[in-house]
């Protein structure tokens, strides 16, 4: 029956780790804004090919 004690302690540990993860994510501000990131993730890729082709500006000499 000692298996039961082990299992319960494991279950508590697992559950606490979920609680810790939840508290961490709230603290990190992951629930502050639930709209903008969904828009933001669409941006980056489309610009990259353009930015790599920018020629470096040579400062003009007077």
């Amino acid at each position: 029956m000692s298996a039961l004690f082990v299992l319960i302690s494991i279950s508590i540990v697992v559950a606490s780790s979920f609680l810790a993860a939840f508290l961490w994510s709230v603290n990190k501000g992951q629930y502050d804004d639930d709209y903008t990131p969904s828009v933001r993730m669409l941006f980056d890729d489309e610009i990259k090919p353009v930015t790599t082709t920018i020629p470096k500006e040579v400062p003009k000499k007077i």
């Binding site: 709230v26 639930d34 489309e46």
Partner: protein, 765 residues
């Protein structure tokens, strides 16, 4: 400019992005942002290498906006990072103060079309966010402990306290005790503190009985566990806390991007340019003194009552009165604070300090000094009865058992207090109102808090403002009366008005938009007389358009109500007049008659003159009290009088001139055509187009009260069932454990479904 910085993809994200920067961009406008005290008020963090600042940008409206604003560092390398919070319409910017200064950042934002709404009030909002976080932590902890305690209590339920395995029962109950500690000391703290505060003010608020239930439940459970008697009721105890917190969170979900408590400081600019000894200088608006000479540029707001010294003033008072047509002012005339200059820069001499100005005087009225006393929710009296009944049941139980069997006295009394928790009573109200707030929000009525639903339900008198509330501020109706004009003549008029920047000319040009003429028109000698009219010759025929004095025509057409009359004189013959009047919002007539049918007393308070009386009488019926030429103070007084007659007043209004009246009324609803923009202090904000739904919205508020009452009855039934076990002293943990969540969940489900269903039945979205 976007092209230069490889941001062309901006336009790929949304079919119609970008509202163009309004008006001409004047570089000097943000000069006040060089002032150190102003900067200190705005920035959140400042060091030699970085500065953090948050701007609120009400213009933000689509995904392209997010894209552009998050790529500011490409346009301006001095900006290190910019992050958007779309729902709050805010952007958080980190920039390098060596490379760029605050003023340049603001100018850049204004240049790309997102002029930040800067006000002295910003920067004090940060506390709210941390508070909400604490609430979420509390819910998280309570939820975790509750579910684990529930799980560990299962063996107890099904074996009725007899667990074969030695030691297992003790381990479970001690684990429960350990798990319940954070709930008691962390999660429940806000409830206990609120109850304590209420008691100290000698007011028995709804948190008091809950706190009592929590304390009794936990202490009895701890006693049972420590003495080894039983397993206690920790599952119910943590459950109460968890459901209460959820209910509160649900109700407190507010509209982040709205601000309901504005006063004049949030409208007025931060700084202003003054002329001192011939040089221009920027000072914060609060330091402005009498007789100072100030410069107001295009689009800037006049911060204090002043006299025009130089330049042509065309003042847009749409903030103040809701009337969007600018007023022409001549040299030496008095200009009231709150208007915006449209056109070239003007010089003004201040005659009243900001706090003494006409419009700010409104805020010095007593009603703004103390907050509207939040009327007690109608559940509060109920909860008081409930507490009384509960205590009498407990006392009767105590007396009975003290005679019959003293050993069962304590268990029975504590069981009464545990099971009869008012939690389901409270949940019914919080969840009903929470769901109703959401439904109101869908119909574009945004309430400040749930208390507004109750005050809406109580209202018996409805007051409307005219301009901007029942009329549309952005569209106008143009009527022509007189000798019919040929297509060619119309085209000639259009050709002339097109050259004028006056708003009335623009309206006429827009109305004549589809007039086409195949002949070539040559306009010569175009002259515009400010405040009078325009003059020109078209194909050598003289044409004069303007006021009656301008064309020497005393005749004013009748029956077309207010608005501006524009006379047309062609070839020295008076042809007719264009009447530009405000258009009433569609559906107003139906809404008004429906409200009257339902027995509401209607009033109309208009700041305008009474020329539109006939139209309004037709709209509102003969018995409605319609008052014209009402000053802001008049409106406020009228509402006070009505309240003295024990009327419960609900007011629809807009603009700063209604701010006092909205504050005075029991429910003040601000009407706004653009809900992200400014609105005066109020209890709720409604989208202008949806004011026609007023009768339905009021009916829904009333229905809400019934739903809460119905769910009260259900929760009282649960309480009676629970109490009948408890008074006998036979409350098994399983009964408490089943009754408590079952009642909470069923009530939450019932009120949510009922309120959504009622909304559909009434005809709301």
């Amino acid at each position: 400019m976007l092209n230069e910085n490889n941001l062309c993809t901006y336009y790929n994200f949304d079919k119609n992005p970008g509202i163009k920067a309004k008006g001409k961009f004047v570089a000097e406008r943000f000069a006040y942002l060089d002032d150190a005290t102003t900067i200190n008020k705005l920035v959140q963090y400042c060091s030699s290498t970085q500065t953090n600042v948050t701007f609120s940008l009400p213009q933000m409206h689509c995904s392209s906006c997010v894209f552009l604003l998050e790529n500011l560092h490409r346009i301006e390398p001095g900006i290190t990072k910019s992050q958007v919070n779309f729902q709050r319409r805010e952007v958080f910017i980190i920039f390098d103060p060596v490379a760029i200064n605050l003023r340049k950042v603001v100018e850049l934002l204004a240049f790309i079309g997102y002029e930040p709404a800067l006000s002295l009030k910003d920067g004090s909002k940060k506390k709210k966010v941390t508070y909400n976080k604490k609430q979420i932590y509390q819910i998280g902890v309570a939820g975790f402990c509750f579910s684990n305690i529930m799980m560990l209590s299962f063996p107890e339920y099904f074996s009725s306290g007899h667990i074969e395995q030695a030691g297992l029962k003790e381990v479970f109950t001690w684990l429960n005790l350990f798990l319940s500690l954070p709930v008691l000391f962390f999660s429940a703290s806000s409830i206990v503190i609120s109850a304590w505060k209420g008691l100290r003010k000698r007011f028995l608020n709804i948190d008091a009985p809950i706190t009592l239930a929590i304390i009794v439940t936990f202490s009895r459970s701890y006693y049972e566990i420590i003495s080894g008697h039983g397993a206690g009721y920790l599952d119910s105890g943590t459950g109460i806390v968890f459901f209460m917190l959820i209910g509160r969170w649900f109700q407190n979900k507010t509209y982040d991007s709205f601000s309901f408590d504005r006063d004049y400081t949030s409208y007025f600019p931060l700084g202003v340019s003054i002329i001192q000894n011939g040089t221009e200088k920027n000072i914060p608006v609060t330091q402005l003194q009498k007789n100072d000479c100030i410069i107001i540029r295009n689009g800037e707001m006049i911060p204090a009552d002043a006299i025009l010294l130089k330049g042509e003033a065309s003042v847009d008072y749409s903030f103040v009165s809701g009337e969007s047509t600018p007023l022409q002012k001549n040299m030496g005339e008095l200009i009231y604070a709150g208007g915006k200059q449209c056109g070239s820069a003007i010089e003004l001499q201040i005659i009243n300090e900001v706090s003494q100005s006409y419009i700010t005087q409104l805020w010095n009225n007593d009603i703004f000094k103390h907050k509207k006393n939040q009327e007690q929710s109608f559940i509060h009296p109920w909860s008081r009865y409930f507490t009384l009944v509960l205590f009498s049941v407990a006392i009767v139980t105590a007396i009975y058992w003290s005679i019959a069997d003293t050993s069962r006295l304590l268990p029975a009394v504590t069981a009464v207090l545990i099971v009869a928790c008012p939690c389901s009573l409270l949940l019914s109200a919080t969840f009903t109102y929470g769901n109703m707030l959401r439904i109101f929000g869908k119909n574009k009525l945004y309430l400040k808090n749930a208390g507004v639903i109750e005050s809406m339900a109580k209202a018996d008198t409805v007051i409307f403002d005219k301009t901007g509330t029942i009329t549309q501020s952005n569209t106008s109706q143009v009527l022509y009366k007189g000798t019919p004009l040929s297509n060619r003549e119309l085209a000639a008029i259009k050709a002339v008005t097109r050259q004028s920047a006056h708003p009335l000319s623009k309206i006429i040009t827009a109305t004549l938009g589809n007039v086409n003429n195949d002949q070539l028109l040559t306009v010569n000698g175009f002259k515009e007389f400010a405040g009078k009219g325009i003059e020109a010759t078209v194909n050598d025929i003289p044409l004069k358009i303007g006021s009656s004095s301008f064309v020497n025509e005393p005749y004013e057409p009748e029956g077309y109500g207010t608005g501006s009359h524009i006379h047309v004189q062609l070839n020295k013959i008076h042809m007719g007049t264009f009447t530009i009047s405000n258009q009433y919002r569609p559906g107003i007539k139906e809404a008004v008659s429906l409200l009257q049918h339902k027995g509401y007393e209607l009033h109309l308070l208009s700041g305008d003159n009474d020329t539109e009386k006939n139209t309004l009488t037709r709209l509102f019926g003969k018995n409605t009290d319609v008052q014209f030429n009402q000053s802001p103070q008049n409106k406020l007084d009228t509402i006070q009088q009505l309240q003295q007659q024990h009327k419960n007043v609900l007011m629809f209004g807009d603009g700063l001139n209604d701010a006092g009246a909205l504050m005075q009324s029991d429910t003040g609803i601000a009407v706004s055509d653009n809900t992200t923009q400014f609105s005066p202090a109020c209890d709720a904000i409604i989208d202008g187009a949806n004011i026609r739904l007023a009768p339905q919205l009021l009916a829904y508020a009333k229905a809400g009260k019934k739903i809460v009452a119905a769910s009260f009855i259900l929760s009282i039934l649960y309480n009676v069932a629970g109490l009948s076990f408890a008074v006998q002293g036979t409350l098994a943990p399983i009964v408490a454990a089943i009754l408590m969540p079952a009642s909470s969940i069923s009530i939450v489900l019932l009120v949510t479904l009922l309120s959504s269903f009622t909304a559909k039945r009434i005809g709301l979205k």
